[in-house]
């Protein structure tokens, strides 16, 4: 965790509400990005993001600073995403139904890029949750396996195996969907 987070938490715990607001501004985008890989719409992501910070707000006074704020925050976000998944009972959680903008005005290149993004989202959504989680935290959030291990309470060696499995599955699935580089070679 950066010293900036530690400083903000300290100020917030002393009763400075603006420090909490700074924390929200600092972390809302990474948390939204993380949640977006587990839910199926921007609106749901926005609501869940608020839910994460509400939990942080209520649990804040009990938080003990130990340099693991990011891990604590992602842990809360993961619990919120899981609760939302249980509530909605979407199986598999579908990213394929993400809001797709109107393509009519878009150029062919933009349309192609959006279609590619849609297929990638679909391939990620089809991954089992444990593989998806490690993929999202390693690739999109750029966390180390040791940090992910603290968040998920899973050994780093297991996470490395899961990450390798996730990437391999994605390679195979993207190839099936016509996005693999081998397809052009074969």
């Amino acid at each position: 965790m950066s010293s900036r987070d530690a400083e903000l938490i300290e100020r917030w715990q002393r009763g400075d509400a603006s420090a909490f607001e700074d924390l929200v501004r600092r972390w809302q985008q990474p948390i939204a990005r993380f949640l977006y890989r587990f839910v199926d719409s921007v609106d749901v992501t926005r609501d869940l993001c608020q839910e994460v910070f509400l939990r942080v707000y209520h649990a804040g006074p009990r938080y003990r600073e130990n340099g693991a704020f990011a891990g604590w925050l992602y842990q809360i976000a993961l619990n919120v995403a899981r609760d939302a998944g249980r509530r909605s009972r979407h199986e598999p959680v579908s990213l394929t139904s993400q809001e797709v903008p109107d393509h009519r005005a878009a150029s062919e290149a933009v349309f192609q890029q959006e279609e590619t993004a849609r297929l990638i989202a679909q391939a990620i959504a089809e991954l089992p949750e444990d593989l998806r989680l490690v993929l999202v935290l390693r690739h999109y959030e750029n966390l180390s396996f040791e940090e992910i291990a603290r968040i998920t309470r899973t050994p780093a060696s297991t996470l490395k195996s899961r990450f390798a499995a996730a990437l391999t599955r994605l390679r195979i699935r993207l190839k099936e969907l016509g996005l693999g580089p081998e397809e052009t070679e074969e």
Binding site: G15, A17, E21, V24, Q28, Q29, A32, R33, Y36, V42, T45, R46, C49, Q50, F53, L54, Y57, H58, Q113, T116, A117, I120, A121, I124, R138, H139, Y140, F145, K160, S161, F163, A164, A166, L167, T168, L170, R171, L174, K175, L179, G180, P181, E182, E185
Partner: protein, 215 residues
């Protein structure tokens, strides 16, 4: 390492998660093995594709956030009040039962004794000395601390109820302080928003006037 073992490590090589020695070994293998090299390039393609997936921009509305936090706090307070009320009621009922029924519970020898009402007449009266006078006196003397124990139980229950009531009051005071803080923050935010809005209006107005002057 054979090709299968190498391929399992390729995703970690791609994300620089291997130690320098292992990295060097695998890179050496890749230079000599076309199939593994193709697999590695395919994984690089996956990594690039993952980068195409954008995430939405989310900005939390702090005014709405504080309003929701206050509502949740209020709901929590109501729940706590209901729980405290139920606990105090249960304790009061228990105390009432103890007092009216003159309940008495104790372990005697190898048995648990639950007794209510007044003891049978004459039980507390010391019997005239007889052959088995010694055990009878002992039983009567045993009864004497029972009344004291009941008094003690009542006193403890009464203290418990008072402690619970104090606890409820302190929790409620704390919750009220939290809610007041939230409301203050909410008002401050609203005030800030109003100030920003009027500043924006002034800017727009001056821009409009300068545009009109320019024309």
């Amino acid at each position: 390492m054979n090709c299968s073992a190498i391929r399992n490590r390729l995703p970690l090589l791609l994300y620089d998660d291997l130690c320098p020695v292992e990295t060097a070994n695998i890179e050496k293998h890749l230079a000599a093995c076309a199939a593994c090299q193709r697999e590695f390039e395919a994984l690089q393609g996956v990594q690039q594709n993952l980068g195409l997936l954008a995430a939405p921009t989310v900005q939390i509305d702090l005014t709405r956030f504080y309003r929701r936090a206050a509502a949740l706090q209020e709901r929590g307070r109501r729940r706590w009040r209901r729980l405290a009320f139920a606990t105090v009621s249960a304790a009061a009922i228990l105390l009432g039962c103890v007092l009216t029924l003159r309940l008495e519970a104790r372990v005697e020898g190898h048995q648990f004794v639950l007794r209510w009402g007044s003891p049978p007449e004459g039980q507390n009266v010391v019997a005239p000395p007889a052959q088995d006078a010694k055990p009878e006196i002992a039983r009567t003397v045993e009864k004497l601390p029972v009344a004291a124990a009941t008094e003690e139980q009542i006193r403890l229950l009464s203290e418990l109820i008072h402690a619970l009531a104090d606890n409820v009051q302190s929790v409620e005071r704390r919750e009220q302080q939290d809610t007041a803080q939230l409301q203050t923050r909410l008002l401050a935010l609203q005030h800030q928003n109003a100030q920003r809005w009027s500043a924006l209006e002034r800017t727009v107005e001056s821009l409009y006037q300068s545009v009109q002057k320019g024309e």
